[in-house]
Symmetry: C2
Subunit: 142 residues, 2 copies
DNA sequence: GCTTGAACCTCTAGTAGCTAGAGGATGTAA
DNA sequence: TTACATCCTCTAGCTACTAGAGGTTCAAGC
């Protein structure tokens, strides 16, 4: 039986985060000691590792919920899991494409700035006028 | 004089967002009609365009605040603005590097999945066991 | 058995950057 | 004057946590 602190260390997840996952139903309610402290078993350790790893790969908590559900039904076809992963891959690729355009623009801004007064600053000038941009970029919070 | 609705359309910013920017002090308090409705001038339109464009390039609201301050002081050296842009460029490059690693892993997951039962699903298997990953990836919310 | 202190508990509030909706007031054209 | 689009404020919600206050429990050493 593992305490929350041990589970936290083993998975690299903050204790508060573990409680949060329990609260939103991503982790099951664990057993408790008589005094009310949480105690975990290995199945729960595995589940948390799964969640953690999925988060590192950028899956949303909702997507992880779906993946966990699928994982609990070994005899279903795995197309759904595959679809979720493909969706995630697509998102990652879209984000990369956007970042690439932003990088181009930022590089240009920075390179053209010759270090004079802010009145002549190329960085500020570009920000003032979108039409100076060579690339299109219209995603906020990409 | 522009209404908030017109400003919203011209800049592609939601009305609520404009009010939010005012609330956090990023946009100045505009004039009001007798009845209390906001009316904007061209300086405010320019300012909002600047904010909007900076957001599209991924700058945080805090960074934008700094950039706006600099922009208001035409005689100061523009090194600070340049530094902010460089910082942003660096962040973008870091995010791209992380996404690249994630993409590699996701691609591998998806390609290896042959479409059987979830019990044998490669996608789920990889998520269960980080040691199967060929690349390192340890950024959440990249 | 008792003490001590690390680890645990719950609860609230905060983070970024908005977004949605309720319920009501205003502006403007016909 | 009437209709109704647009505006107002206020509250609460979103994602995915994180921090901290104030109090309780566990386990090891004496």
């Amino acid at each position: 039986m593992l305490t929350i602190g041990t589970l936290s260390k083993k998975t690299g997840t903050k204790e508060q985060t573990i409680r949060y996952y329990e609260q939103i139903g991503l982790m099951p309610e664990p057993g408790r000691t008589e005094g009310g402290q949480r105690r975990y078993d290995n199945a729960q350790l595995d589940r948390l590792s799964f969640i953690r790893h999925s988060r590192q790969l950028g899956f949303s908590l909702d997507a992880i919920r779906e993946l966990l559900d699928l994982s609990d039904q070994p005899n279903r076809p795995c197309e759904e899991a595959d679809a979720i992963a493909r969706r995630q891959l697509k998102q990652v690729e879209q984000r990369m494409a956007r970042l690439k355009a932003l990088r181009t623009e930022l590089k240009r801004m920075v390179h053209e700035c010759s270090g004079g007064r802010t009145a002549d600053c190329k960085v500020l000038e570009v920000l003032r006028d979108h039409s100076e941009c060579l690339t299109e970029h219209d995603e906020i919070g990409a």
